[in-house]
Symmetry: C2
Subunit: 192 residues, 2 copies
DNA sequence: CGTCTATTTGAATGTACTCAAAAGCGGTGG
DNA sequence: CCACCGCTTTTGAGTACATTCAAATAGACG
């Protein structure tokens, strides 16, 4: 079975016919490493389900500093939600951290799917809710923990991301410099 | 017109009959200052619309330090969204920063309203989306700006909150100490 | 192999916290 | 109406956390 179908079925029931309708409305794309799927300022007209590889969304501040807002690895979604829903210019860039395979779904297709497969609404809501909770937890961590605590929690919660992503991206995600993360890692490894 | 009805009508159309149905499903409560509406660990069985006054949600860390996750003043909603939707123990406390009047809506009532007034679903979704965007922006600010920049942005975006709330609460919301916020305020006022 | 990018290390600096003491402020009771 | 109490804010000194910059080292890839 297609990974995205298995993914959906973990949240909502789908008949064989509905699976076919869904697959007919989406498009599979192969993405090169460093390929930019969405530049800041463009309207985000798709959402992407990552079948393999890794995408990430980031913001660039006036001095060119990058701040990673979100990672999406296998079996996760990414897209600028606000831009997508309101058709406003995107506030983040989305690009590939690795060569990836994604399932792309456009807004018109999604709207159509919502009418043909009503239980998808539930899926969309659950997705939004968990994105909100994750963001709230990350905000709370950012205002209440030290860099070392945040990194330790990250490495424990996402051990595989910790292995797989370059250190400077993890540092950007945590809101610290790559140099300081290097020092934190050294300290933690000397302890354990 | 009731403030909450005017609030809803800014997002969705409502007939006179629907207004009456809505008002029949909610309850108005008068809240004393410092009254605790939701203790951490309890399931959040209501959402609250603040008609007057101010509520806030906060987390207490192991050392008893408070971190304010959300403020809600007139015309805003508050509640532990995850706890409410999934009926899990709440991760935040919600209490009154000022004597307040709130409109309380329970989960069963809300579910019933969703079937009787379908366009409320749209309202709920818009609410969730804007909560998500706000949280994402706050997370980004927390990982990318200094305390002074965050406070300046807060004071500009919410000048009235800045006047009205005690400094230690604003500090907690921004993730800094009350002492340091005092120093930031002094510096900014000497500049302008 | 050479080049380019990422990581490590150290010194100097800046940002924010802790602790303690003093000053300010609002409410309550005498 | 004023004095007092408790809580909040201010201020300063000392410290801890995190950044910047620069140089050296390590890895990845054509």
């Amino acid at each position: 079975m297609q990974p995205i179908i298995a993914h959906l079925k973990r949240y909502i029931p789908l008949s064989g016919e509905e699976e076919a309708i869904f697959l007919g409305a989406v498009r599979t794309r192969r993405i090169r490493k460093k390929q930019l799927l969405l530049p800041e300022g463009d309207v985000c007209r798709q959402q992407w389900y990552v079948q393999s590889g890794c995408l990430y969304g980031y913001d660039l501040n006036e001095k060119g500093g990058m701040h990673i807002i979100k990672f999406a690895v296998e079996d996760q979604w990414i897209g600028d939600m606000h831009s997508f829903l309101c058709e406003t210019p995107s506030l983040m860039n989305i690009e590939a951290a690795e060569a990836s395979v994604v399932i792309e779904i456009s807004k018109p297709s999604l709207d159509e799917l919502y009418t043909k497969i009503p239980q998808l609404e539930r899926f969309g809501r659950l997705n939004m809710e968990s994105a909100f909770i994750a963001m709230q937890n990350r905000m709370l961590a950012a205002i209440s923990q030290t860099a070392e605590e945040r990194y330790a929690a990250f490495a424990q919660q996402f051990p595989e991301l910790d292995q797989r992503l370059p250190q400077y991206m993890i540092a950007s995600y945590l809101g610290i410099t790559a140099e300081f993360l290097s020092k934190i890692r050294k300290k933690l490894s000397s302890i354990s």
